[in-house]
Symmetry: C2
Subunit: 334 residues, 2 copies
């Protein structure tokens, strides 16, 4: 018996359970060259909110009444392909289903001896690579500079900060609770962390950046970014990774930034991981090495059970998760 | 007898005559290695508004009760330097004075046979070079793409559009009167021009850019730029040259743009001509060649008389000038 989650309606503003539908059905029989993949870990990510709208964006919108897809680590349970054997662990962009029946070429085999399976959905996957390329290729931090990252306790942000530390910079994280801020400085080695919900956030941020801001890795947009824009040094670089604060807002008004960018001759660039598809192997190799050397820590918030996939996705917008939000759907059997 | 113009007080919001003071004095005697330069043409430019504030910016603020400085073309009337002879035409960043006494090395000799003297303050000077480097180095237009330029009938904008045409792009100008728009399409070869004061500006702009916007060369910021941001194609490039709409505003609020930049993975970069100091000769050579080939037209609004320098500067913010705003202070004598 299979189960799947479909997009029932397009959210306006904040999504809710009513936008999703759980449906039951049978597992599709594999054709020649195909395999059946049982879902072990399923990734829920803020960018998916964009695909739930039908507005123009960098990925195709999800279709109404079709199964939602995202990053999944799974186990091969049946195979009609010579490339995959039952028990193999794989990763791919698959449907939110208990079982996906797919062409063998659409998933990639994992080596569970290098890192736990879930790591392939965080540090060695989308989020680690996003941090790596956005920070190093667009942010280009130099030793001694100040790097600020918003959404710092989120799945991308915590890698941004740690990679920035490896580069020899001063790292300041912005997060939404004092506990997260303490986690960043105590556990991840950030030089400072500021709670954006503090009354005097702008002043605290300025105090945490006595030499201004050279690189701002932005995951959130909105008023948090407004505050950072006041502190830019000349020739600052701003990799734009996300704007989670805006994803659910139909109106988003704030101080215009163009004149600040001119005065400082700063650069902003939006990016998406697929821009770096050709360099993925390089990124995974470097991240794996830092992981092995103990230079990168990672954190996961793991929700248990396919029943809670939608809840886990909705929680992303409450700011409660620490690190990568994953759903553990089942244990490996082999 | 010498005359000069000083910054009397720092403008708050729109500058007015009360911020300036005309002062009379004597012409300073040249020391060994110095020369006395009589002002022929004096350039007034929007960026000077920034120097009148004491806020952090890319150039030092003007000092209160000191003479304002800017681009000036002049004639040597007395010289105690072997490098300059009376009658030589020179260009430099000099004081708003009838006569400047300066070190010979602080000015550059001009060849009046290549172009009229005033051209060295526009197409072959600050504005032509600004258009050249901002468009080609940051905007990187490719043949067949759509380039939009705001402030299109201004001193930088009209070169941006013409250089973009030379690159084989579709060029759309934004200006503030129908006359300017007609000038852009009829005289300068723009493919379309839109009046931002039209009631349905957003719709007209969209109609003028049926394939979206690949490069947006921004001279104005504010609500004009808000409209362009709605039309960005994927991987759009936005050279930020000016934000004249914001220079006199103490509060500048509008739609936030970060989520639009992410969705399109666009790039914005503020720049200033001095970023390209090492490539100035290349720029002048290319601009001079296009000028000689008849591929670049230029326009000047020339105000006559030193008495009207402040008026000419203030007029920049009324949107009435076509092309480069200059003040002709005196005729060459040699």
């Amino acid at each position: 018996m299979n189960r799947s989650i479909l997009l029932q309606s397009r959210p306006v503003g904040m999504p809710g359970p009513e936008n999703f539908e759980f449906r039951e059905g049978s597992v599709q029989e594999p054709q020649e060259g195909q395999a059946v993949i049982r879902t072990l870990y399923l990734s829920v990510d803020p960018y998916m909110r964009g695909r739930m709208s039908d507005a123009k964006s960098y990925v195709e919108p999800f279709k109404l009444n079709e199964v939602i897809s995202g990053g999944i680590v799974g186990e091969v349970v049946e195979s009609k392909s010579g490339d995959l054997q039952p028990g193999d662990k794989v990763i791919g962009m698959l449907g939110w289903r208990l079982y996906n029946t797919v062409d063998a070429g659409s998933v990639r085999k994992l080596d569970p001896s290098i890192a736990p399976l879930s790591a392939y959905l965080s540090v060695l996957g989308l989020t680690g690579l996003t941090a790596y390329f956005g920070l190093l290729d667009i942010g280009k931090p130099k030793a001694g500079e100040t790097v600020v990252v918003s959404g710092a306790a989120g799945s991308v942000g915590m890698f941004v900060g740690q990679i920035a530390k490896i580069q020899g910079t001063r790292v300041v994280g912005i997060a939404g609770t004092d506990e997260k801020c303490e986690y960043l400085t105590r556990e991840l080695g950030f030089d400072a962390a500021v709670n954006y919900k503090a009354d005097n956030f702008q002043e605290e941020l300025a105090a945490a950046c006595p030499n201004g801001v050279d690189v701002y890795f932005d995951n959130v947009g909105g008023s948090v970014s407004d505050a950072v824009m006041n502190l830019l040094n000349d020739y600052a670089r701003i990799p734009l990774c996300g704007a989670i604060s805006s994803y659910n807002s139909t109106e988003d008004v704030g101080p215009r930034i163009l004149s600040k960018l001119i005065k400082t001759r700063s650069m902003i660039k939006g990016f998406v991981l697929s821009d770096y598809a050709s360099r993925q192997a390089e990124g995974m190799q470097q991240l794996g090495q830092w992981l092995a050397e103990g230079k990168l820590k990672y954190e996961e918030t793991i929700v248990e059970g396919f029943d809670h996939v939608v809840d886990a996705f909705l929680q992303l917008f409450q700011g409660t998760n620490l690190g990568k939000m994953l759903v553990k759907v089942s244990d490996p059997q082999a």
